[in-house]
């Protein structure tokens, strides 16, 4: 499989990465090189094989449903580019 220019633009939008028209042909070439490389996986017989979900066989750990952290709003917003009090500021989302 390979991707065309329209697909490159669509992927870029899905990934929320702005891509200029000039970058599309180059990116298309690189993505297609990677897709050509992974193409060899199609020759592997995977019938009846379970997809891996956990590389180390282990039970999912659980914990008590208790609050064990928090009250650190200052820390949470400490590195934000724009804040007001304990809120993150973003451009208007809802009209």
């Amino acid at each position: 499989m390979s991707v065309d220019a329209a697909t490159v633009r669509r992927i870029a939008h899905l990934a929320r990465i702005a891509v200029s028209e000039g970058e599309v042909p180059h990116l298309q070439g690189e993505l297609n090189a990677m897709l050509a490389f992974v193409e060899q996986l199609s020759e592997v017989n995977v019938e009846g094989v379970e997809p891996m979900t956990s590389v180390t066989p282990m039970q999912m750990k659980k914990r008590q449903d208790l609050v064990d952290d928090g009250e650190i709003a200052d820390d949470i917003v400490a590195n934000a580019p724009a804040t007001e009090g304990h809120f993150f500021l973003v451009p208007k989302v809802v009209e």
């Binding site: 499989m1 991707v3 697909t7 490159v8 992927i11 870029a12 939008h13 899905l14 990934a15 929320r16 990465i17 702005a18 891509v19 990116l27 690189e30 993505l31 090189a33 990677m34 897709l35 490389f37 992974v38 193409e39 060899q40 996986l41 199609s42 592997v44 995977v46 094989v49 379970e50 997809p51 891996m52 979900t53 956990s54 590389v55 180390t56 282990m58 999912m60 750990k61 914990r63 650190i72 820390d75 949470i76 917003v77 400490a78 590195n79 934000a80 580019p81 724009a82 993150f88 973003v90 451009p91 208007k92 989302v93």
Partner: protein, 491 residues
């Protein structure tokens, strides 16, 4: 007094305990070495004041006699580990001047045991790279050069700063991370020892995530014993990482010097690649001969799905990366590029903040997870991953204790020499290491010889899950036979 920077960690520990020198003296010696080696670009942030404060505090503890196992040992920390109050960037513009308000579990355990932080080390952006060329702080120089040449070579990646700093004697050891070979490949390129432990051995909490099912932390060190000492402090169960495994951490150092007599060492025929340089082949046979001379038994084994590990990795790792890196959106931390609306803000921030390699991987990851392609790519890759793991399980079920392979398909290369036209050319560096991440196994790279141009080469040992001890025992046999390698200082 001998130059304090030339000691191994084990030797320094003895000197500190005997009060031959203080941690402050040892730390100062390394801080001076760092200053004199800035041309290598191994450190992206030096923290000399903090280092001296930590050293003074630990000297008091040593005087009182309540020092931890790494008391007074100055280390470098890969910039992927969150360090409280010290800028942590993953060497990406998108994290900007991010200053964590918390400490990664692995580094907190090193400080608990008395280690001293010298600064933060360069790496490939988000650990995506095999040459440390994708860092937003620029490439790292390898202390090794080809005989009679002034060309600066790459130290490998992604833990290139860690490997370069340890090899150049700027720190006594360093933290590193390995997703597809990022500890073992740079270790092999710089004649240092690097171990990626079993998945789940070290907590991932507080380490900038790349591909969560593959990422593991481990040390890069000057000797096998040093690596064992560092891993003991770094490893251990952490409730904050649900994939961290609750099993006791052995005293890895006790495994060093243990007899390897009767151990069965697998030599996988699929690692004998067409067109493999003769000197890599020779190194591999020499390593096998050393283990045999120490009493181990060599067995040819088959890992039939080896060739599919790298392509499967280049689906699984970008897929996980595209998901993990979704958090860098210009809202909660790091860089923000303005936009007319929230979507433009995201898109502009991520276009400006991510470098070319990261953008490429996030996009391929987005594609293989997108509707209509998930089954063909991602699901198939995860099935192939099951088969890769099964290859190893079958091998270990036959009584194999460890597997010996070359660590890399070549020695270090020049900056800008690889991957310019086709990214896959660079990816092939990890062909021998990536299988280990796909199967969650431990792997160690040990310096084993030099190529015709005088550049170091390494061998890799792959172990059973949670059997790092066997790797340390076997690794030390190779180290004893091969000797230690130190680069001639040119910086």
């Amino acid at each position: 007094m001998t130059d304090l920077t030339s000691l191994t960690l084990a030797e320094a520990r003895k000197g500190l305990a005997a009060k031959t020198f203080t941690s402050l003296e040892l730390t100062d010696a390394h801080l001076s070495a760092i200053e004199a080696a800035r041309v290598l670009n191994a450190f992206v942030m030096e923290t000399p004041d903090r280092a001296r404060d930590m050293a003074r505090a630990v000297d008091e503890k040593i005087a009182r006699g309540d020092a931890g196992p790494l008391a007074g040992i100055p280390l470098g920390i890969k910039d992927l580990f969150a360090t409280k109050g010290v800028r942590t960037t993953a060497c990406s513009k998108i994290l900007g001047n991010f200053v964590p308000t918390y400490e990664s579990t692995v580094t907190s355990q090193l400080w608990r045991d008395g280690a001293v932080m010298l600064g933060k080390l360069n790496n490939d952006e988000f650990a995506m790279g095999s040459a440390n060329e994708t860092s937003c702080f620029g490439p790292v120089g390898n202390p090794w050069r080809r005989e009679g040449s002034n060309t600066t070579l790459v130290p490998g990646g992604s833990s290139g700063g860690s490997a370069s700093a340890v090899a150049a004697l700027l720190c006594m050891g360093a933290t590193a991370t390995d997703t597809g070979g990022s500890i073992r490949q740079p270790a092999a390129f710089t004649a240092t020892v690097g171990i990626k432990p079993t998945y789940g051995r070290c907590s991932r909490w507080g380490i900038v995530a790349f591909a969560s099912s593959l990422d593991q932390a481990g040390p890069i060190a000057r000797s096998v014993r040093d690596a064992a000492m560092l891993l003991r402090s770094m490893a251990g169960h952490d409730p904050k990482d649900t994939t961290s495994v609750d099993v006791p951490v052995p005293d890895y150092e006790a495994a060093i010097g243990k007899s390897v007599k009767g151990m069965k060492i697998g030599i996988p025929k699929e690692y004998r690649l067409d067109g493999m340089p003769a000197e890599i082949e020779k190194l591999w046979s020499e390593g096998a001969a050393w283990l045999k001379a120490a009493g181990a038994e060599l067995v040819e084994v088959s890992l039939p799905h080896t060739k599919y590990a790298l392509p499967a990795y280049y689906i699984v790792a970008p897929a996980e990366a595209s998901s993990n890196l979704a958090r860098y959106d210009g809202v909660r931390y790091g860089l923000r590029e303005q936009g007319k609306n929230i979507n433009e803000l995201y898109e502009n921030t991520r276009a400006e903040g991510f470098g070319a390699e990261v953008r490429r991987r996030v996009m391929i990851g987005t594609y293989v997870l997108s509707a209509g392609y998930y089954d063909a790519y991602y699901l198939r890759a995860q099935k192939v991953r099951t088969l890769i793991k099964k290859d190893f399980e079958d091998c270990f079920a036959k009584g194999i204790d460890a597997i010996l392979t070359p660590a890399t398909p070549s020695a270090a290369f020049g900056i800008g020499e690889k991957g310019g036209a086709d990214p896959v050319e660079m990816y092939l560096n990890d062909i021998f290491t990536v299988t280990v991440n796909m199967a969650g196994l431990p792997g160690i790279a040990v310096p084993s010889g030099k190529d015709a141009q005088g550049l170091p080469l390494g061998l890799q040992l792959i172990g059973r899950p949670f059997d790092e001890e066997t790797l340390f025992s076997l690794g030390e046999v190779i180290e004893q036979a091969a000797g230690r390698f130190t680069p001639a200082r040119w910086w």
